[in-house]
Amino acid sequence: MISTSRRPPLVFGANTPSISPRTRAIAWQILAIAVVAAIVAAVAFQTVTNLRARGIASGFDFLGRAAGFEIARGPIEFSSRDTYARALVVGLVNTLRVSLLAIGLATTFGVALGVARLSHVWVVSAIARTYVEVMRNTPLLLQLLFWYSLAQALPAPRDALNPLPGVFLCFRGLFFPSPIWQADYPWIAIDHPVLAGFGFQGGASVSPEFAALLVGLTTYTAALIGEIVRGGILAVDKGQREAAAALGLSRIRILRLVVLPQALRVIIPPTASQYLNVVKNSSLAVAIGYPDLLSITNTTLNQTGQAIEAIALAMAVYLLVSLSLSLAMNTYNAAILRRGGRTT
């Protein structure tokens, strides 16, 4: 309590000449903008001076020059004669490819994990809980390096593990048969990987870097999504489950038809931000040498010295991906909320 007997009434600024709140608001805003503008201008001026002193030409001309480095085979053809711009596009495609795959796998695995966490069977929920705790309490980068070190500890191609017929696992990656489309009957043929020299030829392959990144992102994100799913299921009113049970629905159908659709409303917003995190976390590829957007940006800036342009470009692309993904998720979320509103 403020004791009025000992102190004057707490009216601050009572004696200052009255300035209208409107004037004061405008003054504060001008001050804020001026301070930010001054900082930006000072940094920009200093940067221009430094660049001139070092003889670094600024601008995005370097994008059109030949990159001169190779990128491991991916969905887009790339050779060292191609431009930096194309290299960065290859990087972006690699980032999106690993992120989307990890998002898909982590969602599937995460939902299973969330349900397992709430399992009536104690051992199942205990295993799920332990898994989640281990994943959540160690750094993702450590997990990636761990998976990558395991991939590198695999045997040499000559002694490759052969878990399934035609599938080979060695420190050069995973090799497996792939279908080839043909013009004439039987239209489809199987291309088998064959040991040749220091590696395998033919078939399809997954590089150890890609595998480590995909496994790392998936297992880590699944744990986080699992916790979100668990929270969402717990948020569904108990009466709903009891009513469904009273109708004679089986446990699985209660979960699928009654609980999960309602839990979705709680689950979607935090899951969307986990999806954004997957895209951002995929940049840790730079630590294990998978050619994602950031690794290629890094190579580019080391070769051209265009640090500001290269990093700004990478940041802009990540921002664009983040913003469009969050826009898509918000639209989807709004649709779910609308549908939920109609049925209940």
Binding site: I2, P9, L10, V11, F12, G13, A14, A25, W28, Q29, A32, I33, V36, V43, Q46, T47, T49, N50, A53, H120, V121, W122, V123, V124, I127, E133, V134, R136, N137, T138, P139, L140, L141, L142, L145, F146, Y148, S149, L150, Q152, A153, K280, N281, S283, L284, V286, A287, L294, T297, N298, L301, A307, I308, I311, A314, M315, Y318, L319, S322, L323
Partner: protein, 365 residues
């Protein structure tokens, strides 16, 4: 006999044998877990190699690979993993720095200290830790930051990153809820820009762009640059946590402050912020744990924190290929810390949910 019956009864009513599905699942999964545990113990303890022979060759480890763990890499190199390249005879100093940080975390868990004393501790103890590491005063030799590494670096980057981001974050959070459109727009732009890009791009910016931003001849050391990047990054996330806290304060509090005639700043500092900080504590602790883990990303710009020092050990030809052992050891340290802190945070969350805001303050209000 009676004890036997009791034992049987307690086993029968244990959660894993509650009913038939439980008992069956326990039997099947239990067997699988027991097998995995057996294999792990065989690898990690029975067949493990704990030290190297006199000649210091890791040949025995290479022969045993796959059958037994090579813990010799830890026993031989644990000083490097924990303290990095810090001068060997001076390594009591990083040890003291670690103790200071652990002391800070322990003190932060004491709820009766949650007032200006905690603020003071968060300023004094990190300063003391940096002084001990850096030296050049009190007769301690000068150790430049290039030699800092291992666990103290992880503590340092996360703790100072969090502490220094805090005032900045308060400004951003208040700015985002401000009634002044220009201030609001600036704060929203900053927060969303930072949250839209990965931390690694920020660290790259610190490592490669920052030298271009400052006058020539002025060199800012790499650790400080990384620290600044982490502060700028963490501030945006902490600001969002505090915004959640601001939204949780009942409007009655603002109205009561206004009816007392308090203008914006006094009401914010005296009425709003103390309550915001109190309700935000569990989320702040979670944010701290998440950035404690994320400071490991500094290894991409060539700093050797706990994870970086572990990774550096594996570059040595003698230890190439023993990643599993080193990473398990490092993971254990991270896990012990993060799990402990997150258990504490869950305890705090339960306090908040059972009894509103009040039990979170050290004293009764």
């Amino acid at each position: 006999m009676r004890a036997m019956t009791q034992l049987v009864a307690s086993v029968r009513h244990a959660p894993m044998f509650r009913d038939r599905p439980n008992a069956i699942a326990t039997a099947i999964l239990g067997a699988a877990i027991a097998y995995a545990a057996f294999r792990f113990v065989e690898w990690g303890l029975v067949n493990a190699i704990w030290s190297l022979p006199q000649d210091g060759s890791s040949e025995a480890c290479r022969v045993a690979r796959g059958d037994g763990a090579c813990w010799a890499v830890i026993t031989e190199r644990f000083r490097f993993i924990l303290f990095g390249a810090y001068p060997f005879d001076q390594q009591w100093r990083p040890a003291v720095a670690c103790l200071l940080f652990v002391g800070l975390y322990a003190a932060s868990a004491v709820r009766t200290l949650w007032d200006w004393r905690l603020l003071l501790l968060w300023i004094l103890l990190p300063t003391a830790a940096v002084t001990v590491l850096r030296g050049n005063v009190f007769g301690l030799s000068d150790v430049p930051t290039e030699f800092w590494g291992g666990l103290p670096l992880t503590f340092l980057l996360s703790t100072i990153g969090f502490a220094a981001a805090f005032p900045f974050a308060i400004g951003l959070a208040l700015g985002r809820r401000s009634e002044l459109p220009a201030v609001r727009a600036l704060c929203i732009t900053y927060i969303e820009l930072v949250r839209g890009v990965p931390l690694v791009t920020f660290l790259f910016m610190a490592a490669m762009m920052f030298p271009l931003f400052v006058p020539q001849g002025l060199t800012v050391d790499k650790l400080l640059r990384a620290q600044v990047a982490i502060v700028m990054f963490v501030a945006a996330y902490v600001a969002e946590v505090l915004r959640g806290g601001l939204q949780a304060i009942p409007t009655g509090q603002y109205e009561a402050a206004a009816s007392l005639g308090l203008p914006y700043w006094p009401s914010t500092i005296l009425i709003v912020l103390p309550q915001v900080l109190r309700v935000s504590i569990p989320s702040l602790v979670n944010t701290f744990v998440s950035f404690f883990k994320d400071t490991s990303l500094v290894i991409v710009i060539g700093l050797f924190d706990l994870l970086g020092a572990g990774k550096a050990v594996l570059v040595d030809a003698k230890w190439v290929g023993f990643g599993a052992e080193v990473y398990l050891f490092v993971a254990f340290i991270y896990f012990a810390f993060c799990w402990g802190v997150s258990q504490y945070s869950q305890h705090l969350e339960r306090l908040v949910s059972t009894d509103g805001r009040h039990r979170l303050s050290g004293k009764t209000i």
